[in-house]
Amino acid sequence: MNEKNPLAGFRGRLSHFADQMHDRWLNTPGWQRWIVYAALIVGALLLPSESIGAFMSPDTDWASILFFPIGTFVLLAIGLNVVVGQAGLLDLGFVAFYAVGGYSMALLGTRMGWDFWLIMVVGIGICALSGITLGAPTLRLRGDYLAIVTLGFGEIIRITARNTDEIGGPNGIRGIPHPPSIEGIMIGDVEIFKYGVLDPRPYYYLLVALAVVVIILVKRWEKSRVGRAWAAIREDEDAAEVMGVPTFRFKMLAFAIGASIGGAMGVLWAAKSISINPNDFQFLLSATILAAVVMGGAGNLPGVMLGAFLVAWLPERFRGLQEYRMLIFGAVLVALMIFRPEGLLPSRQRKAELKEGSGGMGTLGAEVPGPQSHGEEVASK
């Protein structure tokens, strides 16, 4: 194996630059970080403006796109990142929790007449519970097997929703209430607490608020004992178990947290979109979110958010290629895994794990380079 100069080539320089930025960030005093955080939040709040939209999505309403798919994907990716990126559990049925959240909002909102905020709290609880229910039997499995079982569960939930007439069957549920509005509070030209049908911006601000809370929580978990336990499980589950990490419990926790985040997004999304049906929760959505997480750099929050943003935004930006966008998406995924499997913005720890080969999920079998290098030797003689 010839060791390449890590700075050679564009990719090397990009990684090096990212590392440098990361080091500088680690040495930044606390108050400066808060300024950056505040600037980012303000930036997120200013995002729906017309002038940005004119460039970002000339063909469709930018503020609507910011809520769905962009904001939705970002939040779902943050949730899935806890499961896949941090704990290293391969989940292909993440959309199930999004569906549970959406159906909680739809059912409790239309049948029981509950308030959005109450449903948000209850819905998060239901999703955490469903994460535990799903996790309890399946989390003893590893790697690919877990991926397939979660895929199976995702499909079971969707088909069950489609076949159960009590919850609307294939037509889903209509007339889901919006969050309660507070009229008359204006910032700029937006009534920021008026949740109606016409203006998507209040929903977007709600989503940003939710995202900020989620990011703070996830970051705190990552830095705590829980986060270290997840990293240990991801890198070597047996070793973690031997060192006294209760792996099963921490894997359940990761599942429950991921499920809650997905569910919270489901509740919010259903509250905006008035009607939901089982086809909103296809396997393709799970695959897309997983792709976003891996593409951005599993385990690294800014990377994951970037990945989700790109996956959601690029197809909307290039509506001219509408027909071909999934075709291109598929090809890009393959190319990315060939040329940059660690993702666009990987965390340094993760990159080291991947370099070692396993990346926490084991390698492909038969990776022996024998015959190939042998063939090259013969050819060069």
Partner: protein, 322 residues
């Protein structure tokens, strides 16, 4: 309900055997690739889908639009199976070359391989919906619409079991699938290629040291697995007479379930698992209604993985048996 079961037992059994044979043929591809590479070839479902279209191409090119009899029928069926095999095996080998080999060379993680496979899967589906079906089959703007096959074979009753008829197409599917299985079993257990496959499955490093060309073995594994999926595609098309660009997804998951059920990595397990799944699914449909057929399969998958992840016959392509 029990009466329903009695009445529909034999038709469901025949249907279950026919579907099960198709699952089993597809499952072989999963099981062989898993045995050799420890990789779930997620894009294998698309290999099956392409097999159905490969088979569809034969009657389309020949311009057949009515039922055939005698030698002409046999000839067309053989041509369709060959075309399906060719299309599928070609796709599988291309997949290995483009989407997996670069990852394997670098010892990339399984997650990367999984994402690559999902990407390839989406790409192939869209390729067919956007380009292949509209152009090759002359159906502009209709790439996403289900495509029917003109009836090639009259559905005559061959014989009957307890008053329930067994049609000739169902027998064809079951017999052809069994024939392919036996041929494959011979190939893996009796030939040099087969020995290489078993050696690689047991221990890749040792296999390389013993002079096995791993790249060739992996290519052959994809080729054979793809060919089997192609046969499955052709048989499905002849018997059920329709296909579409998304058909692979459900068949893929079910075939994977069959592979796991029989014991992934185990060739005979794929047959047992496929038939078992086909039967259970159809019996279950009698009780719960056919809407729940897919849920039954997924539930079986989850239960098997939870309680006996090595499957009915156990993982064994890599265990001795040499």
């Amino acid at each position: 309900m029990f009466n329903d079961f009695i009445n529909q037992f034999w038709p469901s059994t025949i249907d279950g055997l026919a579907f099960g044979s198709i699952y089993a043929l597809i499952a072989l591809g999963y099981t062989m690739v898993y045995g050799v590479l420890r990789l779930i070839n997620f894009a294998h479902s698309e290999v099956f889908m392409i097999g159905t279209f490969g088979a569809m191409f034969v009657p389309f090119v020949l311009g057949i639009d009515s039922a055939l009899t005698g030698l002409a029928l046999v000839g067309v069926i053989i041509l369709m199976i060959l075309a399906g095999m060719l299309a599928s095996a070609g796709t599988a080998v291309a997949l290995e070359r483009i989407a997996y080999r670069p990852l394997r060379r670098r010892g990339a993680s399984r997650l990367a391989a999984l994402i690559s496979a999902i990407g390839a899967s989406i790409f192939l589906q869209e390729l067919f919906a956007l380009l292949v079906i509209p152009n090759l089959f002359d159906r502009p703007q209709q790439g996403r619409i289900q495509m029917g096959l003109p009836r090639l074979m009259e559905r005559t009753e061959l014989f009957s079991i307890f008053g329930h008829s067994v049609r000739v197409d169902q027998v064809l599917v079951i017999v052809a699938a069994l024939g392919m299985m036996i041929a494959l079993d011979r190939l893996v257990n009796r030939t040099k290629i087969g020995r290489g496959i078993r050696a690689t499955a047991q221990n890749p490093e040792a296999a390389v040291l013993m002079g096995v060309d791993i790249d060739k073995i992996v290519r052959m594994t994809f080729l054979i697995g793809g060919g089997m999926a192609g046969v499955a595609g052709a048989l499905y098309l002849i018997s059920y007479e329709n296909t579409n660009y998304l058909i692979g997804f459900l068949f893929g998951i079910k075939a994977f379930t069959a592979a796991v059920l029989g014991g992934i990595g185990n060739l005979r397990g794929a047959l047992v698992g496929g038939i078992a799944l086909g039967l259970v699914e159809n019996y279950g449909a009698i009780f719960f209604g056919s809407d729940w057929k897919h849920v039954i399969s997924f539930t079986i998958l989850v239960l098997v993985l939870m309680f006996r992840p090595t499957g009915i016959l156990g993982e064994s392509l890599q265990q001795a048996r040499a």
